[in-house]
């Protein structure tokens, strides 16, 4: 037997559109930068910078994607992240950074359990519940900070926090190793797509050079994405997450504990938001009570750009991260190239709607459904060899 790939589908707009969009945008911005005589837009430093700026939204977006796959919704992530940051900044001077970070994430998880329990056991729509916690948790942040900015003033603790967030990590060898793993896997399993990914990663690493470093959050984002992707792609838990979102009743009657999976998604979402909040608090060693306001919408926009269905049952964390990169490339491009910040929101919104339109309209019904499923863990298409 040989494995065959539907190339037209794999490289069609619907499956790969978000990658094309990112490439086109980067090329466009590079051309503008070149024509204006600005420094190379596609320098490794600037690209690393974009990923760094996108990392918090990316981390929350990966968890949000899992959430959307199970068919639920979490509007409260940005408020939860702000709460975690406030807990961290508030407690760090007295109990030290590691304990405070733990407390922050536990606080976030508590909100997630509350959200999930109310949605699952009281039966209120997730949109309404998390809209409530979005407001309430933001209120809690105001109460905790007394409406003022908090700051960590103990230098040793501040040092630890900055180190956690701003350490530069050399990734040359790690990226090469990852590329080699992908290529080996591709050769072993005969999967050309893995080979392509391996080549891209390897080429980027070689172009960036041995001394290239990225900020720690980029590494955290990469590790988290990789872990969630692997769980969704290779494990029974992953399949069941898709099943719960695809048809909860059929999943329940197949003996799957639907409550546990849905509650788990809320916990994951809030935990990821908590971690993002910790990173945010560490970035400045301070927290402003209105910090991250509105970020939940960017997070959801990233997931939608990545092709995640709001109806559940389909979605890909990798493409959500690409979606986040697309949004932050826009922001970064407008700032770096000074294209007029006023247009930024207009264009971002248009991009999100255009993406959703492509996912909805692109391809006929059958191809559309196949494509959404293709992001679910499944055996590659197999054809009988003569």
């Amino acid at each position: 037997m040989t494995r065959s790939i539907d190339w037209r589908r794999t490289f069609g707009l619907r499956e790969a559109g978000v990658y094309y969009a990112l490439l086109i945008l980067l090329a466009l911005l590079a051309a503008i930068a070149h024509s204006r005589g600005l420094p190379n837009y596609l320098s490794p430093q600037n690209l690393g910078n974009i990923v760094y700026q996108a990392s918090l939204v990316g981390i929350m977006g990966v968890a949000m994607t899992v959430m959307l796959i199970t068919g639920a919704f979490d509007l409260s992530v940005a408020s939860v992240a702000a709460l975690a940051a406030a807990v961290l900044v508030g407690l760090a001077p007295s109990i030290g950074f590691p304990l405070a970070a733990g407390a922050a994430i536990i606080t976030a998880i508590a909100v997630g359990i509350f959200n999930g329990a109310v949605v699952q056991f009281v039966g209120i729509n997730a949109f309404i519940v998390t809209l409530g916690t979005l407001t309430a948790v933001r209120g809690l942040v105001l109460v905790l900070t007394d409406g003022r900015s908090l700051m960590v003033e103990r230098p040793d603790v501040l040092q630890q926090m900055l180190a956690f967030e701003s350490t530069r990590v050399p990734i040359f060898w790690a990226a090469l190793l990852f590329a080699a793993t992908l290529l080996a896997l591709a050769a072993w399993k005969r999967r050309p797509l893995d080979a392509l990914a391996g080549i891209v990663v390897g080429a980027l690493a070689l172009l960036a050079g041995r001394d290239f470093t990225v900020a720690a959050p980029v590494v955290y984002l990469a590790l988290f994405t990789l872990a969630v992707w692997a769980v969704l792609r290779f494990t029974v838990i992953g399949r069941r997450i898709y099943a719960v979102g695809g048809n909860a009743e059929a999943a329940r009657l197949s003996g799957i504990n639907v409550h546990a999976y849905k509650l788990g998604a809320f916990v994951l979402s809030s935990a990821a938001a908590g971690f993002a909040g910790v990173l945010f608090g560490c970035r400045l060693g301070a927290i402003n009570p209105t910090a991250l306001q509105g970020t939940e919408l960017t997070v959801i926009a990233a997931a939608i750009l990545g092709g995640t269905s709001l109806l559940g049952g389909a979605g890909s964390v990798l493409k959500t991260v690409i979606g986040a990169l697309l949004l932050f490339t826009l922001t970064n491009g407008f700032n770096v190239l000074d294209l007029g910040a006023s247009y930024q929101g207009l264009i971002e919104g248009a991009v999100v709607i255009a993406a959703a339109a492509i996912y909805t309209v692109g391809g006929d019904r059958r191809r559309a459904r196949r494509a959404t499923v293709d992001t679910a863990p499944q055996a590659p298409a197999v054809a009988e060899a003569g």
């Binding site: 290779f234 494990t235 029974v236 838990i237 992953g238 399949r239 069941r240 898709y242 099943a243 695809g246 048809n247 009743e249 059929a250 999943a251 329940r252 009657l253 197949s254 003996g255 799957i256 504990n257 049952g313 389909a314 059958r366 459904r369 196949r370 959404t372 499923v373 679910a376 863990p377 499944q378 055996a379 590659p380 298409a381 197999v382 054809a383």
Partner: protein
């Protein structure tokens, strides 16, 4: 012939954009005031034909002659205006609106409800025998009454032809009677009815003429009086089908494999106790609402309100589906699409759903799916076909295949043959027998009592959430079973 036919199709064709031919030249004639039965296996083209007649999709070739004139409807509104009303199988009513508002959905005009419209609706309702309250919310009505609301909605435009797509598929006993009476009344008023059904006895009893579709062609068109069930069934299947015959099976007399003790659910199920041995097929007969599905859901732990105990192989199982599955209990639910399979997943993934473990083994799952496709004769291109794209019978086989693991010892089947054509139905009944022979205890619910009589070892009769009788299928006939289940001594005959 006294008058020209109301509707005449000549060489009607429909080819989908992807090249699939759904209709390959259908001839069909419907006369005013007659009931015309339309039959065919799943995928024979019935639904496509109905959609073409309703103006929902255009025909690719052939002629439609309506009241002597060639017509070509481009949208459903035109067909409605022309005098054809269509009631689809999955009743498209708005559950949150009242009966009246559902009936008035297509009405134009400014006011939400005006006096004249209400009077018109009341007249239509009266002509149907006032089966419902005009101000009731549709979502609160039982499904049989909703079917009547759909009929009433169709009648609001005063159609000359009413098309009904499997109006009785999800109904039981007296609810079907209501539909039959309505169809006769409509024919009596001089309207024509095009009646689609899987049930041969209905067709024979109700219709004046019959058209059978197979592979997009009309293979039989005749007066019903000249036909019998066997002839129609043969035309549907394209081969002579043997009517299900009862096979006396070796009775197993071993220990109870499934033991249900005082299982009860408030408002749904009275305390119920019974047991089943391995190798035994226990039929559960009951009308809709008798608590049939509720009983299976309670056994499976899918009803959180249920109390009592269920023992499998002598060990009590937990009260949740996961525990039941772990103990070897499997449920094939009534509503395939909503409860049975995940339409966006492949055959292989659906079959692998209940499997435990940590890592997905694509190759093994694929092989298991291929084995199931061969074993159960599932008609699918390959193991990666989406279950949502299979026909009803094949999707049902996938749902059953999901549970065919060594772990499964008790199989709960809730209407496994509903909405499935004769060929696939026979396959499934044979499979049930084979599984029992392999030592499984099987509980089988079916509205087709002849199926129960043919395949089960004994039958529990359920009424109002309680077992009211246990009968030996060898000693009772369908009419007797219907009497027990409906609790009436004399049942209104289908043949009027």
């Amino acid at each position: 012939m006294v008058e020209a036919p109301l509707l005449q199709l000549h060489g009607l064709e429909k080819v989908w954009p992807n090249g699939t031919a759904a209709l390959r030249g259908v001839d069909l004639t419907v006369h005013t005031g007659s009931v015309h039965g339309l039959l065919g296996a799943n995928g024979a083209g019935k639904s496509t034909l109905i959609k073409v007649l309703a103006g929902a999709i255009p025909a690719s070739g052939g002629d439609i002659t309506w009241r002597g004139q060639t017509v070509r409807w481009t949208n459903p509104r035109a067909a409605r205006a022309g005098g054809i009303a269509t009631i689809y199988q999955h009743i498209p009513l708005v559950p949150t609106l009242s009966v009246l508002e559902n009936m008035l959905l297509e009405q134009a005009g400014g006011w939400r409800i005006d006096r004249a419209a209400r009077d018109r609706a009341a007249t239509v309702a009266r002509s149907l025998g006032d089966p419902f309250d005009l101000d009731a919310i549709v979502g609160d009505l039982p499904i049989g009454t909703r079917q009547m609301v759909a009929v009433a909605q169709g009648l609001m435009s005063d159609p000359a032809l009413l098309i009904m797509d499997e109006p009785t598929a999800s109904l039981a006993g007296d609810e079907r009677e209501q539909v039959y009476r309505t169809i006769r009344r409509l024919a009596g008023e001089g309207r024509a009815v095009l009646f689609v059904s899987h049930f041969l006895d209905e067709i024979v009893a109700l219709t004046d003429e019959v058209t059978v579709l197979r592979d997009g062609r009309a293979v039989l068109g005749a007066r019903t009086a000249d036909l019998d069930e066997a002839a129609i069934a043969a035309a549907i299947a394209g081969r002579a089908v043997t009517v299900l015959e009862r096979v006396e099976r070796q009775r197993s007399t071993g220990e109870a494999l499934l033991d249900v003790r005082n299982l009860t659910s408030p408002g749904k199920l009275a305390p119920t106790s019974f047991s089943a041995t391995g190798g035994e097929i226990v039929g559960i007969a009951g009308m809709l609402g008798s608590g049939r599905s509720e009983l299976l859901h309670a056994i499976f732990g899918a009803d959180p309100a249920a109390r009592g105990s269920v023992l499998v192989g002598g060990e009590q199982i937990g009260r949740e589906p996961a525990a039941a599955v772990a103990a070897g209990v499997a449920l094939v639910p009534e509503d395939r699409a909503a409860q049975g399979f995940i339409s966006g997943m492949t055959i292989a993934e659906n079959i692998a759903l209940p499997h435990d473990g940590w890592l997905i083994a694509p190759r093994r799952e694929h092989d298991a799916a291929i084995a199931a496709i061969d074993d159960l004769a599932i008609k699918a291109p390959d193991a990666d076909a989406l279950v949502g794209e299979l026909s009803g019978g094949n999707a049902q086989k996938v749902v059953i295949a999901k549970w065919l693991t060594p772990r499964t010892r008790v199989l709960l089947l809730d209407e496994p043959t509903a909405g499935i054509d004769i060929g696939a139905r026979t396959d499934i009944l044979r499979l049930i027998r084979r599984l029992a022979d392999q030592g499984l205890a099987v509980l089988l619910i079916s509205s087709e009592f002849e199926e129960l009589l043919a395949v089960t070892d004994r039958i529990l009769v359920l009424r109002d959430g309680a077992i009211v009788a246990e009968v030996d299928p060898a000693t009772i006939d369908e009419a007797g079973l219907i009497q027990l289940a409906s609790g009436t001594q004399s049942r209104t005959e289908i043949a009027a």
